[in-house]
Every structure is written in C-alpha cells, then in structure tokens.
C-alpha cells in the first residue's frame, strides 16, 4: 500500500464513518429517551435511498402505500379511542393528520412527474414520504409496550426490522438502485483526487450534528428530550409526555436515517436489505460509546468506517467478519470497566 491508496481508503472510510456516526447518534438518542434499541434504523436508510431512486426513475415509490396503510391504522385506533372517550371534536383532526396528509401526498405524486423536478425538491419529497413512518411505527409497535423491559422492546425492534425488510422487498424489488451523483466537482490535492460527493457527505454530516447539538441545547423540545433521557418519571411529572418524547425521538431517528440513505445512495448501490448492515455498523459505534455517550459513539462509528475501508483492501472477503468481531474486544473493554453486577 502506498500513501496514495492509503489516503484514498482513508477518504472512503471517513465518508462511510460519517454516515455511521449519524446513525450511531440517532441510536444513542432513541435508546436514551425510549430504552428502545432501534434495530430498524437501517431500514430508514434503505427506504430513504430507494424512495429517492424511485422518484428519479419516475415511479410511484411504494413507501406512499405504507404511509397510507399506517395512517389509516392509526386513525382507526385513535378514532375509536376518541369515540370511547366521547371526544368527538378530535376525530376530524385525527383523520386529517393520519389519512389526509398521506392522501394529499399520494395525489400530488400522481399528478406531477417527480422525475422532472429539481434535485432538492426530490430530496424533500423523499424525506416527506419516509420520515413520518418513524413516529407512526412508534405509535403502532412501541407505544403499547412502552413500559416493558428493554429485552421485550428489543424483540419488538427485531420484529419491526424483519417486517420492514419484507415490505422493502415488496415495494422496491430485489434489484438495487444507485442515484446519480449530487455533484461532479472534484478537487486535486497533491496526487489524490478528492470527490465532491465525499466532501458533501462529510460536510452534511457535520452540519447535521451541529443542528442536532443546537436543537438539544437551545430549543424547548430538545431540552424536553434530554430531560426524558435523564429521568423518565421526573420528566413526566414536569408535564413532558412520554409518548411525545418517543414520537419526537423516532422522528429524529427516521430523519437521520432517511437523510443518511439519500447521502450515500450516489456512492454505493442500495438494495432493500442493505440498510441493516449499515445500521448495525452504526450500532458497533454506539456500543463503543456504551449506548450512552454521543461523542464517543460518533468517534467509534468513524473508527468502524476506517476499519472497514482498510480491511476491504487487505482482506476484502473478511471485511464484515473483521468489523463485527470488533464488538468483542469493545465489549470486553466495557466489561472490565464495569465494576459491579449491573442491575436492570
């Protein structure tokens, strides 16, 4: 390996690492607020990328059907709850939010040809189609068992993951997609070529992390989430609804997931099940941070990206083996740090 290849691999690793870092942050956030280990995070990556690809190909993305189905289901549940509590005035709002908005989106998509729209509008549309799935899934799958043990929530997560994988195959088929590059710009630094797309991913990730930081430090909702993460009961006593906190953290996780998918879809071909491995690499980063520390999780994720990139050069067949076996020494190190038997 010469310096040039080393730099190139480093560039690759950093790009993927930036994506893993975003996902790791979302995982830590969701776990801290809801105690859910969010295995389906990766499916949002795949759905984001594949929805954008469908839009660009002029097809109606399958995600709209999922949005309609989940919306109808929630409207039915919330509607019957409102009926039973005799809160009839809430019913139009419930219908409008859960069925009206998805219908409007579906109508809009059918009316215009999305393929001709400018790229930023396409990206926005893809996000609009995928992000609401986050809070919807929280409402349907997690909220009824929100007080259950971490273990039960984890098994629910795996069930949601499996379901979404099947749905992904149904909607997007077994073929992968790759969206055209956002930018063709490239820079020459010394002997190495720095791709504009790579730079875009890293810059976008950094910007997103800064936005998240500001959200948590400066806004009321951000502070409410932090309060819930620190002490669920205390936060509830202060009037922060656990359901709201859950929905909000799932919205953030879904946005981060979908956005990450859109960022990497010009770099790698994404299949309906690619998200899982990508999400899990974020997990390895999150676990390095003990599912608790944001900066360590981000640093860990970048390490995973670099490790993956360099091991693909030396032992490409064993790339996944190396990345996922990394978790063993990490867990060992955390285990040695833990002094006493931990109580659930």
């Amino acid at each position: 390996m010469n310096l040039q290849i080393a730099l190139l691999l480093g560039q690759d690793g950093l790009t993927n690492g930036a994506i893993y870092a975003l996902l790791a942050l979302a995982l830590v956030l969701v776990f801290a607020v809801t105690r859910v280990i969010f295995i389906p995070q990766g499916e949002f990556v795949a759905f984001g990328a594949l929805t954008l690809a469908s839009l660009q190909a002029g097809k109606l993305p399958g995600t709209i059907w999922l949005l309609l189905a989940l919306g109808t289901l929630i409207a039915a549940i919330e509607g019957s709850l409102a009926m039973r509590r005799r809160q009839f005035r809430r019913i139009p709002v419930i219908l409008l939010v859960n069925c009206g908005v998805p219908l409007l989106l579906a109508g809009g998509l059918a009316a215009i040809s999305a393929a001709t729209l400018p790229l930023p509008v396409q990206v926005l549309l893809a996000l609009l189609l995928v992000v609401p799935l986050g809070p919807m899934i929280y409402r349907l799958a997690y909220q009824p068992v929100a007080e259950a043990s971490v273990l039960v929530l984890l098994i629910v997560s795996v069930a949601v993951h499996v379901t979404l994988i099947g749905i992904g195959l149904l909607f997007f088929g077994a073929e992968g997609s790759r969206t055209p590059s956002f930018t063709d710009v490239s820079f020459e630094i010394g002997d190495t070529l720095l791709q504009g797309q790579t730079l875009l991913v890293v810059v976008a990730s950094v910007v997103l992390i800064i936005v998240l930081y500001l959200f948590f430090e400066r806004t009321l909702y951000g502070k409410a989430l932090r309060a819930t993460a620190m002490n669920r009961t205390g936060a509830r006593l202060m009037g922060i609804s656990g359901t709201l906190a859950g929905m909000l953290s799932f919205t953030l996780a879904a946005s981060i997931g979908a956005f990450s998918g859109i960022l990497i879809s010009p770099i790698t071909t994404i299949y309906y099940d690619s998200g899982f491995l990508i999400g899990l690499k974020g997990f390895v980063g999150a676990i390095i941070g003990g599912l608790a520390s944001y900066p360590v999780a981000a640093a860990g994720a970048i390490l995973v990206g670099l490790l993956e990139s360099y091991s693909s050069f030396w032992a490409s067949a064993f790339k996944e083996v190396i990345v996922f076996t990394l978790i063993i020494p990490v867990l060992l190190w955390r285990s040695l740090k833990a002094r006493h038997v931990e109580e659930e």
Binding site: A159, H161, T163, G166, F283, F318, R334, E342, E344
Partner: protein, 590 residues
C-alpha cells in the same frame, strides 16, 4: 393423583402418536416433523435463556452452524466418525459460548443480544468465505449416521433419533429447572441483586444457561448435518437466528413445551405462507417475514406469554408437590457464643456523587442481641444495610463480620459467611410458590449442580432443602400459604416470606429492613416472638423499623441515625430520653 394421571395419559398419547407418525404419514409430513424437531431443540435453549433466565440471543443459528460445520468438516476431510464429531462440536460451541458470555454477561442485559447479532453475522460471513469450509457452496458428501448395524439413511429412520433427542432434552431441562440451580436461574429474572444476596453466583448462572442453550443448538446442528448430508451457510444466518427466537416467543417463552408448539406453528405457517404469498404478490421472495414480524409484534403486545399458557387453560392444573417432612434435616452452622462481637461497623461512609448518605457511622452488633437502627426517613438506614451486606458497597470505612473484614467482598461471599437479609421493597419472584422462594434462601446449603439436577441425582438433597424451607415457612406462620403463588399474598405476608427466606440460609446475623411494616397487630406480636426466640438461639439481629412500640419492646440496644450521621446509641430507655433524639423525631422547641 387423578390429575397427575391425566397428565400422564396425555403424554402417553403424544408418545404413541410420535411412534406411529413416520409409519403412516407421507414423506412430506415426516420431513416437516423432522424440521420441527430440529428447530424445537434450538427453541428449547431459548426458553431456558429468555423465558426463564431473562436473557436473550439472536445468534442461536450461528451455534447450530458451529455444530453442523464441525461435524461436516471433520467427517469429510479427516474421516472422523460422526459419533466423535458430536462431542467435538459441543466442545467448540462451549468454548465460543463461554468466551462470548464472559465478555458480555457482566454488562446490562441488552449487550448480550447485541453481541449475538454481531457474532451471528460475523460467523455467517466466516462460513461463507473460508475456502476450507467450501465457501458459499458449502460441504457435500457428509456420511450418514450408523447406529450399530442400522444406517439412518431415510427421513423416516432419522425421525426417531431427532424426536428421542428432543424428548430427552425436554426431560433434562424440566429436571434442571425444578432444582436448586433451577431456582437460582429463575431468580435471575427477579433481578440479580436479590439472587446475589442469597449467595447465587449470578454471572456464573448466566454463563451456564447461555452455554447450555448454545449446546442444544449445536446438537441440533449435528443432527441437521447428518440428516441433510450437506451444509452451506444459509440456514445459519441471522435471519434464521431471529426466527428461532420467534418460535420460542410465539410458543410460550417460559414453558418447555412452548418451544415445541412454537417450532411447530412457525414451521407450518412458513411452509404455508411460502406456498401462497408469492402467488398472491405475483413474484417470488421471502414475503413470509412480513407476516412473522407482524405476528410477533401482536403476540408481544397482546399475549406476551405465548400460545402454550392459552392451550393449558383447557387442561387441569398440575398438583402441588408434597414435601417429605421425614427427610434428614440440613447440617447447621455452629453459631458464635452468645454475647461475642459479631459485627463491627467503623467509620462507614457512602457517597452518591455529592450526596453523603452515610457519614462515618460506627456501631456493633453482638451474637444473641437485637440491635435496632432507627431514624427519620432519608437518614441512610437502608443505604447502611446495602453497604454492610455488600449489595451496594460503602465508599469508605471498615466492616468486620465474625473477625473478618468484609467491606470489599461481594454480596454472595458475605452471605456465605453467615449474614442474611431482607429487603425494604420486597424482592420475591411473584410467579413462584412461597416454598420455592424460601428455598432460594437455602441455596448455599446445597451443592448438587447442573448435571446432577438434569439427571435427577439431586433428589435426596433437594428433599432436604425443601424440608428446610417448609420448616422456616411454618416458623414464620405461613404454613397455609406454602404452595400459593407469592405474588398473590398481601404485602405484610410477603415480608414474612422474605424473613423465612433469610432464615433458610441458617444465618448467624440477620438484617431485617422494616419487617413489621404492613403487618396487623397480632402478626406483629407473632413476629416479635419469633425474633425473641431467634435471639435466644444466639442469632444477632440488626433491625430497621419505624414502629417504635415494636422496636422499644424488642431491642436490646438502639442506634439512631439522622442525615446520614450517627446521632446516639444506647439502651432503649436512654434513647427515649435523649434530647437530641427527641428533637430529631418531634422537632425542637424554639
């Protein structure tokens, strides 16, 4: 007896059906039943791990793979007999499971399943990329099994082997759960804190059940390899690992028969869905996962105990076991001489961040005396209990118990020295009977281990342990509730169960945290009588209690705490006259 006989009848009918099945069923159904048997063996391990022990694993398929690949490789490349590759596979699996357990089981419960996901993926790619294991095409030409002169070539012949192994494992698992170690495993779900205080080595118990579950999977893999006669990585992927967990949860994750029901349901459903869904959708693919995922979410939301308990509602409940009172009593500890120094706490401090919960507190407890620890709420009494018993170690200070420094020992080692305790917030296993809960207290007085329990070589000791539990229950006035589910008792009685459990450990120092709270007047008197009798036997008692009549009528000496500091120590009469104590309790006069 009639009910027990009925249960026996069902079992006999089930066995007869199993014997007949391969003789009458068409090939297709025999194959299906073979797979159900193989999957049920794996699911059974998950029942023990998840339903009983409160841990979980998504990586069981990888352990199946270890068993299958070890046998495939050794038989085809080195010509080893399949009967030798079975123990070899078990050895490899055990080594991997123990090391994986060691690195994750000291951490919170969710790190193990996350570890198994990563490990499941990693091993799948390893199987697929190692040239020696045939890469993605796998290994073919694995020899069939030879039993004496009989070659198990067809699925029909193999059927008997699979189901015999399965029933054997069911039996061993049931035996294991109904034993001393089985109770320790079941105690894991109630939080390791209580189990540790009763002397259970919880990390060891966790590693053992994780390893046993892995070994079950490995056996299933070995059978699979010699039934199929070829292996490739696909059936050992993470997806299959997740499916095993679904089987256990859908069937009933806390019941051994649930594993068989779950394996049957999921396997048949999968077969059926794989036939129909692609026709419905119009393209081929594993669409059954959508149904499985939704089914799983539904089960977890609406019927978390799975199908088996719902089925069992239609059948009579099994009769409670009767305790043999004539079995030999357990050996007792020699108690220190009455009046000798038992416990010395010196300058004990406990800090939680900036909060000082205990500030240089010192006191002593002698054998054959009741020492009461009193003080207003938040004075740090329970913190002191946790510090002494090793449940939550002190920040600084020295604790000497029977002449031995114990402040840096683990809770289970302190319990072994003869200290036993109750908890202010009762820590009992609500679903288990009173006698089983109390028997956990006697954990350290037995020594028969997992293997002995699985093959029922522990019955003599088990009878002695249960007899001891029954004696302590009667002593605490709970004889009538002995076989009831502990969770159905009122709180006051649950506290008595805690005391009976502590007594079952044969302690020389008893730490009681608010034992009289929630008891009625007569029950309190009975408790006071019991404590007096224990004192007369030479047991030392350290008591936290808010009921002043109870305390003053019983205690030999009293130590008063306020804001984490020791306020006063002395005889009950002195304490009642002490102006500082009166001020702490009633407020000063300005």
């Amino acid at each position: 007896m009639k009910r027990a006989a009925q249960g026996m009848h069902f079992l006999l009918v089930f066995m007869a059906a199993l014997v007949l099945a391969p003789l009458v069923l068409p090939e297709f159904y025999v194959t299906l039943l073979n797979y159900i048997g193989l999957y049920a063996i794996v699911a059974l391990g998950l029942v023990m791990l998840t339903g009983v022990g409160g841990l979980t694993s998504f990586g069981q398929a990888a352990f199946v793979g270890l068993g299958a690949y070890t046998s495939a490789y050794l038989t085809t490349v080195h010509g080893v007999s399949p009967w030798l590759t079975l123990p070899a596979g078990l050895l490899v699996t055990a080594a991997v499971a123990v090391s994986l357990g060691l690195v994750t089981l000291r951490l919170s419960g969710h790190f193990l399943p996350l570890g198994t996901i990563a490990w499941g993926i990693s091993l799948y790619y390893l199987f697929g990329n190692l040239a020696a294991l045939g890469g993605h095409t796998g290994i073919t030409g694995i020899p069939s099994l030879q039993l004496f002169d009989l070659e198990l070539k067809s699925g029909r012949e193999f059927f008997y082997l699979i189901w015999a192994v399965l029933l054997l494992i069911v039996l061993a698992t049931r035996n294991l759960l109904d034993s001393r170690e089985g109770r320790a495993i079941r105690a894991l779900r109630g939080g390791s804190l209580m189990a540790e205080a009763m002397g259970v080595n919880t990390p060891r118990a966790k590693i053992v059940i994780f390893t046993v579950a892995a070994l079950y999977a490995s056996v299933s893999g070995w059978l699979y390899a010699h039934l199929q006669r070829f292996v490739n990585p696909t059936p050992f992927s993470l997806t299959q690992g997740i499916e095993y967990l679904f089987m256990a949860v859908v069937g009933g994750v806390a019941h051994v028969w649930g594993a068989i029901v779950g394996a049957g349901l999921i396997t048949i459903l999968k077969q059926w869905l794989q036939d129909w869904l692609p026709r419905l959708v119009g393209e081929s693919g594993n669409f059954e996962v959508i149904v499985f995922g939704l089914l799983m979410i539904f089960v977890l939301q609406r019927a978390r105990d799975g199908v088996w308990p719902i089925v069992m509602r239609w059948f009579p409940k099994p009769v409670a076991r009767v305790i043999a009172h004539d079995s030999q009593p357990l050996a007792r500890r020699s108690l220190p001489e009455s009046g000798s120094l038992l416990l010395e706490v010196k300058d004990a401090s406990k800090r939680f961040g900036g909060l000082v919960a205990n500030d240089r507190v010192s006191f002593t407890v002698r054998a054959g005396e009741v020492m009461a620890l009193i003080g207003p709420n938040g004075a740090g009494k329970s913190t002191m209990f946790n510090g002494i018993s090793g449940v939550d170690p002190l920040s600084s200070g020295a604790v000497t118990f029977r002449g031995k420094r114990i402040e840096s020992l683990l809770a289970r080692d302190i319990a072994r020295l003869g200290m036993s305790r109750t908890f202010q917030h009762v820590r009992l296993l609500a679903g288990m009977s009173v006698i089983e809960n109390v028997a956990i207290g006697a954990h350290l007085r037995g020594r028969k281990s997992f293997v002995a329990a699985a093959c029922r070589a522990d019955r003599h000791e088990e009878a002695r342990l249960l007899r001891e539990a029954a004696v302590q229950i009667e002593r605490c006035g709970l004889a009538e509730q002995m076989y009831e589910a502990t969770g159905s008792l009122p709180l006051g009685r649950q506290r008595l169960v805690e005391i009976a459990r502590a007594l079952a450990a044969d302690p020389c120092l008893l730490l009681l945290d608010e034992p009289a709270a929630g008891l009625r007047y007569l029950e309190k008197q009975a408790l006071a009588d019991l404590l007096r009798r224990l004192r007369a036997e030479g047991i030392g008692i350290l008591l936290v209690e808010h009921d002043m009549d109870f305390v003053m009528g019983l205690a030999d000496r009293v130590v008063v705490m306020e804001f984490g500091r020791k306020l006063a120590v002395g005889l009950p009469e002195e304490i009642q006259r002490n102006p500082a104590v009166v001020e702490a309790y009633l407020g000063g006069v300005e």
